[in-house]
């Protein structure tokens, strides 16, 4: 052990003090020679002769020195350094090739690193909560036939209390629901998005306040709920990160709340993109107040979600078993609830990831394909160069370099290239991450967590190394395969291409074309989807329409007459604003979120069983709303000012509802009502187009509109206002604000946006994915073109002699041109054929992302295949032209 250590030290010394070592060796040998010379002289040999004899006796000086040196060094480090130096020299010598290779690789690695950083943050990294594996979202499963755009539906207080009482498998079991708060008394009134959350909410997530504390179970009871916890962002933006904020009283919705805590940075649960759409959570929660759910809640609808932390050592199966047991128990006690108590335990990670997994993996696959193409491109580039260097290799082999030594040399060069490409890739990825964070769809969960971190850097390094080995190995193997004797006999002549290297080149090229084809077809399908979406009938007119949200503080607006009066005032004032064509209010406006769904009663169609209860979206609107959002009345009439409580209760239904419940009948004049029989039936007076709520992609669901003046539930505290304007909606915003302020100065305008902005926002995801895939496809196409150009150019240069002979024998330039093009066309055709087969398999995976297009869309396939062939032939054009300019005399003399 000690000996080995000493040897290591000597080697280290030798590596560092190479000069000193050489010097010592020199001295030692010189001494030896002198002694020998002296002895020779003493033996009577003449001076000159004595020295030569000494040298002769010593033998090969250099071998002795080399032998000693080799021993004393880390041979592999020396070799590596030598290879590196040599590699650098080679790369510098061919700046063109080096630059193209580095850029190609940089693009490939940069793109894949960007996508990997997304995948890593969204799918791979554990959630930023302690022991995230124990956090689940118990979700109520919708009874069959009820569809809210999700298999689940919101919790009610009754169910929550029942499960809270009986469950023993969760350590914490907290409920929360979205709510908005008008903050007054701190600057202008402002609408804050927050959450009413029970006391278990914070410990279930395992996060405590960074400043102060969160509220206790005692403070989470009706009548005691006067505490508020702020988000870090809100605290910084609105209160200047005031450390003395604790204990301060805030007026929220007209009630006084005491600030007791500030959460750590980045804590904004629940975020909209992390929870089911139908719960309508805001983009970020800015504050939390106690939910104060009574022990014996009075039933009625509620829009809650539940978050729970499983006790240590309890499995999800055990949890599920107990929750099922509780449900059966509850159904026995409350037969009315049969079918409404079933739960499914969704791990928080699954809930957060949602349905982004598919698209993300698709993009990751696409970018992997780009990287593959980039690698095979660089492989071809290096292969051509390696073949040109064959003489050098032959010479080196003749001088005693083994094949493995040559391969190592070539691989070192490729790795150098790969690392340079990786460095370029890192900076490109840095920009890419920035781009994704700015332009990425808002509903991409955990986008705020994406960053260049250790795992991403590991990915870059691994990708670069693998890429370097991948694209370096082909040329290295091909270029060193030649038989030494054969090559020497050839005398460095370039062979006419019988060796295996063109085969490697050709197969690399064919796979490039095939891969590029798959990507371009996928991008084509997504682009088609995008245009179908844009042109899809949205059921409203986004041009020149302005919308915003009004939230009435419940303390001031306690009863319905009060609320209705306010809205009537608002509509009166807004209708008088110059530039406003029509104004209306509604519970939702198109693309602002899922409306409220309810069970309906159809007197002429009695429901067979509770399982098949008909349901529809139930939306309260005012006269003028439909014309303001631009939803056209297909038959019948719009609501009128004369539809009041004392007149006939009326409703307007959408086309889907008409088709679903009155197929082949005229619904006008038919009756429909909400599920509960204590409310009167309404008469259908109009049929309107299907307006989309969440995305242009959604399938329309039955919807009924009722006039706010005839509406009976006091649930109109938050309403959307829609305005159709004569000109640019931006011109009226100031006067609209003034109009609202003149009615109630404490009312903030929230979510002020044009309808076309809402449309744009809803298109962010499809636009992002189509942009992403299209840019990858374009990249792949360009790379494949470069590859095509390179391979054909190389083959032309290899066949110069052959072409010269052909022309000397009477071939026309046209024939030569056609011959080269045919060569390119053969390769491209093979690539396209293989690519079409691959695309059939690959696009099937995308089916869920498409709209209005089938995965195997013949027009797209044909157009892209033809397009790729044309592009490939264009790439062959220049080398083919060059081939026709071969002068037979020069070509033949050259060889």
């Amino acid at each position: 052990m000690r000996g080995r250590f000493k040897a290591f030290l000597s080697r280290l010394k030798a590596l560092v003090g190479r000069k000193k070592l050489d010097h010592d060796l020199q001295d030692e040998v010189a001494f030896h020679l002198d002694m020998r010379e002296e002895k020779n002289r003493a033996a009577g040999i003449a001076d000159e002769e004595a020295r030569y004899a000494a040298r002769r006796q010593f033998g090969n000086l250099t071998v002795a020195k080399e032998g000693t040196r080799e021993m004393l060094r880390f041979l592999w480090i020396e070799t590596l350094l030598q290879d590196l130096r040599y590699g650098f020299r080679m790369l510098r010598k061919n700046p063109g090739i080096t630059l193209i290779a580095v850029i190609t690789l940089g693009l490939g690695i940069g793109a894949s690193t960007t996508v990997f950083s997304l995948v890593d943050a969204i799918l791979l990294k554990p959630l930023p909560y302690p022991e995230p594996g124990r956090i689940v979202v118990p979700s109520l499963v919708s009874p069959p036939g009820i569809n809210l755009g999700s298999p689940y539906f919101p919790w009610g207080q009754v169910q929550f209390r029942m499960f809270t009482r009986e469950q023993t498998v969760f350590q914490y079991f907290g409920a929360f629901q979205s709510d908005s708060f008008n903050l007054t008394g701190v600057g202008d009134p402002i609408r804050l998005d927050g959450s009413r959350a029970s006391a278990d909410f914070f410990p279930a997530l395992g996060i405590s306040a960074a400043l102060g504390r969160t509220y206790s179970a005692e403070e989470d009871r009706p009548g005691y709920e006067h505490e508020v916890v702020l988000s870090d962002t809100l605290w910084r933006q609105r209160f200047g990160a005031d450390p003395g904020i604790l204990g301060r009283a805030l007026q929220l919705n007209g009630t006084s709340y005491t600030v007791i805590g500030v959460m750590p940075p980045n804590f904004a649960f629940p975020r909209a993109e992390e929870m089911p759409v139908f719960l309508n959570f805001p983009r970020e929660a800015q504050l939390w107040v106690p939910a104060a759910i009574p022990d014996a809640p009075p039933g009625g609808p509620s829009e809650m979600a539940v978050i729970a932390r499983v006790k240590p050592g309890v499995s999800l199966n055990q949890v599920q078993a107990q929750m099922d047991l509780i449900a059966r128990h509850a159904e026995q006690k409350l037969p009315d609830w049969k079918g409404w108590m079933n739960t499914r335990q969704v791990p928080l990670a699954t809930q957060v990831t949602g349905d982004t997994r598919g698209p993300l993996l698709l993009v990751l696959g696409a970018v992997g394909v780009v990287l593959l193409i980039a690698c095979s491109n660089v492989a071809n580039l290096l292969l051509a160069r390696a073949l040109a260097r064959k003489r050098e290799f032959t010479l080196r082999a003749a001088l005693g370099s083994g094949r493995s030594r040559l391969i190592r040399q070539l691989l070192t060069e490729s790795l150098l290239l790969a690392l340079a490409g990786g460095a370029v890739g890192v900076s490109l990825a840095e920009a890419g991450i920035c781009f994704a964070k700015t332009f990425g769809p808002a509903n991409l969960p955990r986008l705020h967590e994406v960053r260049m971190d250790v795992s991403v850097l590991c990915f870059v390094s691994a990708a670069s190394l693998l890429a370097g080995i991948f694209f370096g190995l082909f040329p290295a193997l091909a270029a060193t395969r030649e038989n030494l004797v054969e090559s020497l006999k050839e005398g460095g002549q370039r062979s006419a291409g019988n060796s295996s290297s063109p085969r490697i080149q050709n197969s690399l090229l064919v796979s490039q074309v095939a891969l590029a084809l798959v990507l371009v077809i996928s991008a084509g399908l997504l682009a088609k989807t995008f245009f179908h979406l844009i042109n899809a009938d949205s059921g409203f007119n986004p041009q020149r329409a302005l919308t915003f949200e009004l939230s009435l503080p419940p303390l001031q607006y306690t009863d319905q007459p009060h609320i209705v009066t306010l809205y009537r005032n608002v509509l009166d004032k807004l209708n008088k604003v110059p530039g406003v064509q029509s104004a209306g209010i509604g519970e939702t406006v198109p693309l602002s979120g899922q409306g409220e769904s309810t069970i309906i009663r159809l007197p002429d169609r009695p429901a067979a069983s509770r399982k098949e209860l008909p349901y529809a979206n139930y939306t309260i609107v005012s006269p003028g709303y439909l014309s303001a959002v631009g939803t056209s009345v297909i038959r019948g009439r719009d609501f009128l000012e004369s539809d009041i409580l004392s007149s006939l209760p009326v409703t307007i239904i959408n086309l889907s509802m008409a088709k679903k419940f009155w197929p082949n009948q005229d619904p006008l004049g038919k009756q429909v009502g909400v599920g509960s029989t204590q409310y009167a039936l309404t008469t259908i007076v109009g049929i309107v187009a299907d307006a989309k709520h969440v995305s242009l992609r959604e399938d329309p669901i039955p919807e009924m509109y009722v006039p706010y003046t005839q509406h009976v539930w006091p649930s109109m505290l938050t309403m959307h206002v829609a305005l159709r304007t004569n000109g640019d909606p931006a011109n009226v915003t100031a006067s609209v604000r003034d109009a609202i302020r003149s009615i109630d100065p404490a009312l903030p305008l929230a979510k002020l946006a044009t309808l076309s902005t809402l449309v744009d926002d809803s298109m962010v995801t499809p636009r992002f994915s189509v942009l992403l895939l299209a840019s990858f496809a374009a990249l792949a196409l360009v790379l494949a073109c470069i590859g095509m150009y390179g391979v054909i150019s190389y083959s032309v240069s290899q066949r110069t002699q052959e072409i010269g002979i052909r022309m000397a024998l009477g071939a026309h330039r046209r024939d030569v041109f056609a011959m080269i093009l045919a060569h390119g066309a053969r390769l491209a055709g093979l690539g396209v054929a293989i690519g079409l087969l691959a695309a059939v398999a690959a696009t099937r995976v995308m089916a869920g992302l498409l709209y209005g297009v089938r995965p195997i869309d013949a027009p797209t396939f044909i157009v892209v295949a033809v397009f790729l062939m044309v592009v490939a032939l264009v790439a062959c054009y220049v080398p083919a032209r060059r081939a026709t300019r071969v002068d037979p005399m020069v070509a033949l003399r050259d060889e």
């Binding site: 040897a7 030896h32 006796q57 010593f58 033998g59 004393l72």
Partner: protein, 113 residues
Amino acid sequence: MTEKRERPGDLLQGTLDLLILKALANGAMHGYGVAEWIHDSSQDVLRVEEGALYPALHRLELRGLLSSEWGTSDNNRRAKFYALTKTGRKQLDQETEYWRRMSGAVARILQTA
């Protein structure tokens, strides 16, 4: 990396190592001295190839069997002196024993023929 090829000195390597260790058994010596001692002691039969000697010396030093020091030779010149280390002495004993057994065995085989 070159293919494994037998180097000229390789065959003798074990023997040369043993001879070097033996040469140094009686005290430190420089490379030239070692070569001369082997030459003389073998009654001019063995001539050490210097091209092999120095690599061998350095190898033995690297293995910790020898230590080296720059000193002054008899004729007052700067020379590198090699000496046996403790491990080197042990190695010498083992190698000598091994050599005796081997050469004895080889000799017996040759006699029977």
